[in-house]
Symmetry: C3
Subunit: 207 residues, 3 copies
């Protein structure tokens, strides 16, 4: 049963949830390139995506309560769904704050962070259907960890720039606002690593 | 055994722990309404409550080590106790910082956040004795999630006000201090969601 | 088997991982006492140590995948390895930010926080070989919790000093930078508590 689970519904639902992360990363890319006046529209689309994510999570929870047989431990599926949701929450918060704070410009390095998030989202979306053979997914954990590592380096250099190089004329409130947004992007990169950790946990159990 | 556990000690201890959260939320309500000179006294009561919370947690851990039969997985009870404790830690930190920072006034929106925390605390205190029939608690998870969602919205509007509207005359250090306190309240709302997540995990296992 | 596990490899690997935390705490002690010009060299040593930590974690993950018998649940060993790694990540971030931000001086209280981290690291390194008799480690959880409590108190007084007493001439950007570094130290203290929580979880299962 473990190797050929017949109930493919969970893989489909997890794949949907991961697909929302690809959409979210795409919207972040848009958010940082459109004119300020159009940011609110993009943030609204992100919010819609986040609601789709909530729906997918709830559908997974419901399916867990009504399925007799699940491919893995129920709690692991629940945890994985919840970790996927965390990524989208961070993306949504970043977009929301960018609008709320009405910041003039994004600090340099933000494009790179968003690009890394898009790569992690693509890897995650590829991995979800592959959960059927989770023990073959060890490269996923390593790749997502490498991305998180790189995002962390970009994040720290970005902070140094914000604080040391007179960004925004050294205006403390503007620096704080930019930092808040960038913190959410860094948190999203961490959240991808937590997704990979759960996948790794399941792989360890199945091996 | 699962449906009619005879060892009610765990439910009593969890109910006590959740009761401390109701007390904590009540003290936060007091903290933000009393004159500055009386804040320290309220923070001290909060600290006493936090110690009661620690005692309840330790009693649960001890009971876990000495009980042969537990109504649920030992680790789930341990996790639930630890998550309840996290809420009180955040409340205690918020009260402590309010005193340490000697801030003149709380930013608008704080009353609403505290009110939401009080509602989440009341729901949690109601849910704990109901853990006996945990599978009937699905509404709890949804209600706490809805409160966390609302708290999150209030939190973000509050941040926007702090940073954009010249609050405290735009004094960066005052803005930072207010943000630190509000962050703890937001963290407490998150912590309630984590409590609900553990309850949900137990319900999934029992179903 | 549980009481006399013959596969001592996991204990050795966990002991190595905990030993890296002792090294990390030692490097933090050095970092805050050397002249600014030498900080980068110390941060580089910390980074090397963090890589050793990553290697130890990966070795543990690999050993989990190839060992038929493990002394405890595989997931608990995995979680413990990952929590040990979290501590070193926080230490590494603190050292990295101290260099990146080029701060002139560390605020008072930092020495005390680093000293508490060194104590927690020593306790953890002592506890790991003792995991063989994990049920005898209950004092470990209490001691690490007491250290975290003390670190928390030092942290809050330090924040009050940063924000209220005109530290760095009340320069908001300097206050923010110092706070970022101190936040990582506080996070490392929390991370030690999370290590102790996993040890406690294993002890509960084994009892």
């Amino acid at each position: 049963m473990r190797l050929t689970p017949r109930d493919t519904r969970f893989f489909d639902l997890l794949t949907t949830a991961a697909g929302n992360l690809v959409t979210g990363a795409g919207l972040l890319t848009e958010l940082i390139s459109v004119p300020i006046a159009e940011r609110e529209k993009v943030a609204q689309l992100m919010h819609d995506t986040e609601h789709l994510g909530d729906d997918a999570t709830q559908e997974i929870m419901l399916a867990l309560n009504t399925s007799f047989i699940t491919p893995f431990d129920r709690q692991d599926i629940q945890l994985l769904a919840s970790r996927l949701d965390d990524v989208l929450d961070d993306m949504d918060e970043a977009a929301d704050l960018a609008v709320l704070y009405r910041i003039d410009e994004f600090p340099p390095g933000v494009e790179k962070m968003v690009e890394l998030l898009a790569r992690a989202a693509a890897l995650t979306a590829e991995a979800m259907p592959g959960m059927r053979k989770v023990t073959e997914l060890s490269a996923f954990w390593e790749e997502v960890n490498a991305i998180e590592d790189e995002a962390d380096g970009v994040y720290r250099r970005l902070l140094a720039h914000l604080f040391n190089d007179g960004w925004a004329g050294g205006d403390p409130l503007k620096v704080m606002k930019a930092k808040e947004i960038v913190d959410r992007l860094e948190s999203a990169a961490d959240a991808f690593e937590h997704v990979a950790d759960v996948v790794q946990t399941i792989a360890v159990k199945e091996s």
